[in-house]
Symmetry: D2
Subunit: 305 residues, 4 copies
């Protein structure tokens, strides 16, 4: 199976002030991401508030992103939900409309406690779009599925033919590396934390990743990989440190889903509010965040249109 | 607002072997529950695998239960989901078709961390069915919303007009009692753990409850309340101890959702399998469970048709 | 083995302003507790900051309490620590100086994850004082030992001859009752949460308990049991509700160890500060707490000298 | 303040079959560690079962290690405990006998919940040995002190003069790097996870570390740093992968404290059993572990005497 190289972006879902999904900015959004070096999008995931969207909204968004995607720009559709039948429907739909791949995190309810449960969950979804690569999205802080990923790989190997790999959003670079080494790199391990791209590269392999802060800081994050590949360690470190400084700021504003979505407005693409139960940023918070970003020189280095 | 007296049952969702929802047993199911002393049903909740059902399935089930409900038998529809717009749609539908009330647990994703988030979540749902009583379903072990319920009551008081009370499925009888005492008993606190009905009664008040083991052990659980009310403490204790013995058995078989649903088959109402990711019981497990239930004399005391 | 009836108090450790242990108030303390209906003390436990005391301090305190104990007033010495050899030494010392019994909670480090580990820990301590009853002190919120207590009882039964029972400080009245019923009440289950004495009595048995708020609210807590035994449910409820109101207050001041210890000063027995890392109450906090206690009429009902 | 370069070892505590501490192997142990490239030891920590030792045993061990230490070989004494007065005594003793430095993890009981509590705890210990560098040992998985380390650095900066830095045993390389960058590298951040030495080096800085698997795999771990420093990335990666393979094995045998201590016997230095509540390895487990180590070629690459 093809492995992803470079960084895939996890976009936010554009919304109107009343909370309705607003597909209008998607073409400009896709073009901007491609221009800044991103290789594709992983839509309707956690950054995209996928769990807070209706099935119809999720399908509509998938269609709009695929329409808007430039040549060679991958659209991976997150189809995870608590209801497997909805997820299977979303997976089949993604295949029909020409998505490059699909992904799903473990359901937060009921909480997955065993590998066998997780395998069955993945299997039901993957088999609904057998022609597409399926990525398991490992983000246990969000759904409590703190399971050993090596065991998942062993369990799906030979059982789920289109299991492509894991979007790994967890701190253990040790486990990440072990998964990467599994069966000579059989599976595609997508690094999922923008704050540690450089350390992950040091461990080895031509790696792909999926990021959330790539939405506004993609040039610098792509730059880490480029610098590393040409052997320029100092630049790679400087860019990684800068990227952590950006993350330090969003951590003061309820993280990427809330703070990061608001940064998009500050760089010129207003994507509207977050859905309940997220607490939207106030105008005062926005001003304070802008000042923090100014202080680290963010607006000189951020993504451009 | 009317307070619920007696026990409401949280029914399982009948399914065919292929996992499709099967409404056919619902009339017999409703009649059986009423015959055994239950006062209504709380459908599409955790026992009903509500989060694992599609919106259409949830609506269809609500319609079937309301059609099947005997005179005076309350149908409360659980409408909680990760997507507030789906929940609001379910709430409005419940009102349209004549449900007695609605309820919703906190979403497991994104995890609710603040009372203010929870209030907004409840508000959005309750306001979609303003003519119906709305119950918050507190079950933090399932969704991680370990928040102080007294603070929720204070926050909704005067803000959500149709907030009726809490289905309280947590171990703290102290917190439960404090909520019960709030503003002279303003809110309807429904006890939500069948294993501690008697201790809860001792704390005071004419209490209602919602149970999961009432599906098969309702006669005995109703009997606890009746014995307590006529001052027969010994009988109440004996029945509470018996009910705990039944719960001991289901704890050996993955709890009420899995083990309890299978008990329904053993007492004469086959409700089919659980949905993935639940692990269904094997036939061997079923035999072992039946033997454990036999050993405590369950089949002489269980619900009857 | 003898079972404890009535309430045992978990005293605070008196300290000087510089943090030194101060044995001087102990005789007055013991006399006050006995006068207010307490049947003994469980010293050097969590209320007594036992883990924060040196072994020498713990031994000295045990000696002082035994000297001060009125006739028939039980002194149970908590000897738990992370170092089993210290615990065994404390256990042997307790036996030498005439303690009535000993107890130990699970060590918080290393975290106990298996019943077998817990049994070995209990065994090593109990066997160091084989002539004394040994109580396991179950308080998993403090040490992470969330293990099923029925399994502990099964494992120690026939293996640790002087295992007397469990001081059960956890919310599950279901599990508490199951342990109480084990082998016709073979073990002494001491109820360990003052906020739920009445619900626990309703479940049955002539129960003993160990309390922390008994230090200042013992008359009312003893009164719950007395009212229940004479069939006066209304008084029992009123006193339990009052006792919860007292607990509501201390929860605003970092709980019993911090807030409760300061209440002792307010009722006439200054026991000094808490040890680091506890945050001692400020004078302003003390005034605010006093006002809250006044508002519920606490000082008319509290323990007397 | 001097910063540590290279790797410090966290030794196991040698014990006799009856569980008594056995100082006899210490000179050979120290010489072996120095020979294999280690720069010192961090004694009586988690690998050394420090919390399970009496104060007298801890002092005796400190004396023996200092006596046995080759020229320039640093002895850092872990003095953390639940009882600050014991810890202060251990700190003062370490200073008296010529330790190079001291360290302490947060107490597991009472659980530290606030930075201010942690600062007070560190302050009380550090001030008992003001002439020695004090390291905070961050290992939240063991004691629940999941606090932001940047906040700790800010809080101690200018307040605890001999606060040297942090032994950082947690997965977040992002937080580790942020602490490393704090005030131009003011504090000494010791990397504390042997499985991610290479990724940590990639982030920058001439870093020191403290390891547990260095006891038997120190040559390879030291080799990672050496290879990195001479620009030999392939060797660094191969050695890091090998070191992860070793860790994979010990994870099958209850981790480094249990499995790792037994490896010492296999490489020629029998250090005896673990203390209760650790479950010691059976002979069968030892054979199985040996086979797993053989399979990865461990005995050709392990530490030598």
């Amino acid at each position: 199976m093809e492995k992803i190289k470079g960084l895939i972006d996890a976009p936010f879902t554009p919304m109107l002030a009343n909370g309705d999904v607003n597909p209008e900015p998607i073409p400009a959004y896709a073009a901007m991401l491609a221009k800044n070096g991103l290789k594709g999008v992983f839509i309707n995931g956690s950054s995209g508030e996928g769990y807070m969207l209706t099935t119809d909204e999720r399908m509509m968004l998938a269609e709009k992103w695929i329409e808007a995607a430039p040549q060679g720009f991958k659209v991976i559709v997150h189809v995870g939900s608590c209801c497997l039948r909805e997820s299977a429907r979303l997976a089949a739909h993604a295949a029909e409309i020409g998505a490059w791949g699909i992904g799903a995190m473990a359901p937060p309810f009921p909480k997955i406690g065993r590998i066998e449960e997780l395998v069955k969950y993945c299997e039901a979804i993957a088999s609904a779009a057998p022609q597409l690569p399926y990525y398991y999205y490992h983000i246990p802080a969000f759904n409590g599925a703190f399971l050993p990923m090596i065991e998942l790989l062993k369990a799906v190997d030979g059982r789920i033919p289109n299991f492509a790999g894991i979007k790994y959003t967890f701190e253990s670079l040790y486990e990440y590396n072990q998964c990467r080494l599994y069966d000579d790199g059989k599976f595609d391990m997508l690094h999922g934390q923008d704050e540690t791209i450089l350390p992950s590269l040091a461990q080895g392999g031509a790696q792909g990743g999926i990021g959330g802060t790539t939405n506004y800081n993609g040039r610098e994050l792509v730059g880490i990989i480029e610098a590393w590949e040409r052997g320029d360690l100092e630049t790679a470190r400087e860019k990684q440190n800068f990227s952590q400084a950006v993350i330090n700021v969003i951590c003061n504003y309820r993280g990427n889903i809330v703070g990061g979505k608001r940064i998009m407005k500050l760089i010129g693409l207003d994507l509207g509010p977050n859905r309940v139960p997220f607490r939207n940023m106030t105008d005062e918070e926005e001003r304070a965040m802008k000042a923090e970003l100014d202080a680290i020189g963010f607006f000189e280095r951020c993504n451009r249109f």
